[in-house]
Amino acid sequence: MRDYVYPSVFFAYFYFFLLLVGAIFFFLRSFKDGYWGHDGEEAKYRMLSDDESPETPEQHR
């Protein structure tokens, strides 16, 4: 019987290595996309008006 212990452990850690590479890539990309610049706060205002319903004073307390 073959021992699959180490291949399966390395398989798991390889997955998490891929995650780490992805995280580093998108983290660096976030600088390019302006998340840390002076427009970085824009999204938090935009999200408040994304409802499809007409705004009324009573809609949000």
């Binding site: 399966s8 302006g34 840390w36 809609q59």
Partner: protein, 476 residues
């Protein structure tokens, strides 16, 4: 506010324009299906939870019928609550939130409906197989292999739909909720594959280590990011107040992304794994305080000057109470990982107290708040009963606090007894009976919360529909 520079493509009707014409561009069928089914499972699995809590106090309850033994019901409770209720409810909320934040329709409503159908097949399959005793024997990974494969298929369908929706978004910059949603989809894929497939091909200590990495990351990289995604959306929405700092939210996201994955081995402290691995897991566990501080400070600062809203805004009550529970559970976690504390609390009843505060007290509270906010809107009606919603909050809160505190005290006491070799093990079991009795009665209160919540939501879904202007007033 929204600027022209952020609008990517011209020619498409933005959501805000549709609002002006009192029309919705969103169908929300998928969100409705996921929410209705998940809340139904919440009620059914709540009964199972109550039964197993009763079995601690009255072990002879339900005799020796195999399907009704603790060993069969406990995995059903865990999987039912995690995947039948919480993850499904979170998926339903993501189907609602992501298209709105992107300013476009869901990429494929048909694919979403198919995903909801498949997810229900999986949950019903889990009920049957776990009651029959078909079980992989690994914590959180009890589902048999064919159901694991179906989960992967359903997750790919879900992920493709969300990613394609985000890919067609109108705005270049994504609100932090979308970051967390995308992170959840990717991390869940990796975590689930490791926990349900890689563990099957390893043995001994390596298998245990992989399993605990999966268990911890199931909470840390599945339920935490999706829970925070929901909180980041609904706290500003329900309070009608912008998030304190989007940049701080990004710091929280990236620190979670880099830190969380390496903490699973703290479940094996004082166990047969190498000391360096234990130490690494302790260091990363303590580093978790960084994303936790970033998240919690941001939420509390968002509420600055708005606390009076907690008087009568039920979703906000659930959200901010969930934030407090999140802070507490995330303070406990790093402390548990310290070797001296771990020697007392590990494997005791303290741990279910801690885990329930995370999954129920924090993330389920966020999901409940989301459901109270979303369901009246997608059904274009008012919430069935505001009073019942308030009752559900207090039942959950009082029952939950009773449950958590009882298990912490009982678990700490249990740990001290286990550290005294002069006390026979069976005496430590008998000593905890009063603790389990209080837990059972706390469970009854929490189940009361589930009943009032589920009845309120399902009555809203099935009740008479109002018009759009009524829906606009529906603040839940």
């Amino acid at each position: 506010m929204q600027s022209e520079a952020t609008i990517r493509r011209a020619g498409e009707i933005p959501v805000s324009a549709a609002a002006r014409y009192n029309e919705s561009i969103h169908q929300d069928t998928t969100a409705r299906l996921f929410l209705a089914s998940s809340i139904t499972y919440f009620f059914i699995v709540g009964i199972v939870a109550l039964v197993i809590a009763a079995k601690f106090v009255w072990p002879q309850l339900m005799g020796t019928i195999p399907m009704l033994t603790y060993g069969r019901l406990r995995p059903l409770h865990v999987n039912g609550m995690l995947f039948g209720w919480l993850l499904a409810a979170d998926m339903g909320l993501m189907y609602y939130v992501v298209p709105r934040l992107c300013g476009v329709r869901l990429w494929s409503e048909k694919l979403g409906i198919a995903t909801a159908a498949l997810w229900n097949v999986i949950i019903l399959g889990a009920v049957v197989t776990l009651l029959l005793g078909v079980n992989q024997g690994l914590e959180y990974a009890e589902l048999p292999l064919p159901l694991d494969v179906l989960v992967v298929v359903a997750w790919v369908m879900f992920g493709a739909n969300i990613f394609m929706t985000v890919a067609t978004r109108k705005y270049t910059q994504m609100y932090v909720t979308i970051w967390y949603c995308l992170g959840t989809i990717l991390w869940t894929a990796f975590v689930y594959l490791t926990g349900n497939f890689a563990t099957l091909f390893s043995t001994g200590v390596n298998q245990a280590n992989l399993n605990w990495m999966y268990v911890h990351n199931a909470v840390g990289l599945i339920f935490t990011p999706v829970g925070l995604a929901i909180a980041y959306y609904f706290i500003p929405k329900t309070s009608n107040n912008p998030l304190h700092s989007h940049k701080l939210s990004m710091i929280g996201f990236w620190s979670l992304a880099f830190v969380y994955v390496w903490t699973g081995a703290h479940h094996m402290i004082h166990g047969p794994i190498s000391q360096w691995l234990q130490t690494i897991s302790i260091v990363f566990s303590v580093m978790l305080l960084i994303p936790v501080w970033a998240v919690v400070y941001n939420f509390f600062a968002t509420m600055r000057g708005q606390w009076q809203q907690l008087r009568d805004n039920v979703p906000l009550k659930f959200l901010m109470t969930g934030v407090v529970f999140y802070l507490l559970t995330c303070f406990q976690g790093p402390m548990h990982s310290l070797r001296s504390v771990n020697a007392i609390v590990s494997k005791t009843d303290w741990i279910p107290g801690h885990a329930h505060m995370a999954v129920l007290g924090a993330f389920s509270f966020f999901a409940i708040a989301g459901a109270y906010y979303v369901v009246p809107r997608i059904c274009k009606t008012r919430l069935y009963s505001d009073a019942l919603a308030n009752w559900s909050f207090w039942l959950f809160l009082i029952g939950g606090v009773g449950f958590f505190v009882t298990l912490w005290l009982g678990g700490f006491w249990q740990g001290w007894q286990w550290n005294n070799p002069a006390i026979p093990f069976i005496d430590t079991v008998i000593a905890l009976e009063p603790v389990w009795l209080v837990r059972f009665f706390s469970g009854i209160l929490m189940f009361g919360g589930i009943v009032t919540f589920a009845y309120n939501i399902l009555a809203t879904m099935l009740g008479p529909k109002g018009n759009q202007s009524q829906a606009a007033l529906a603040t839940a």
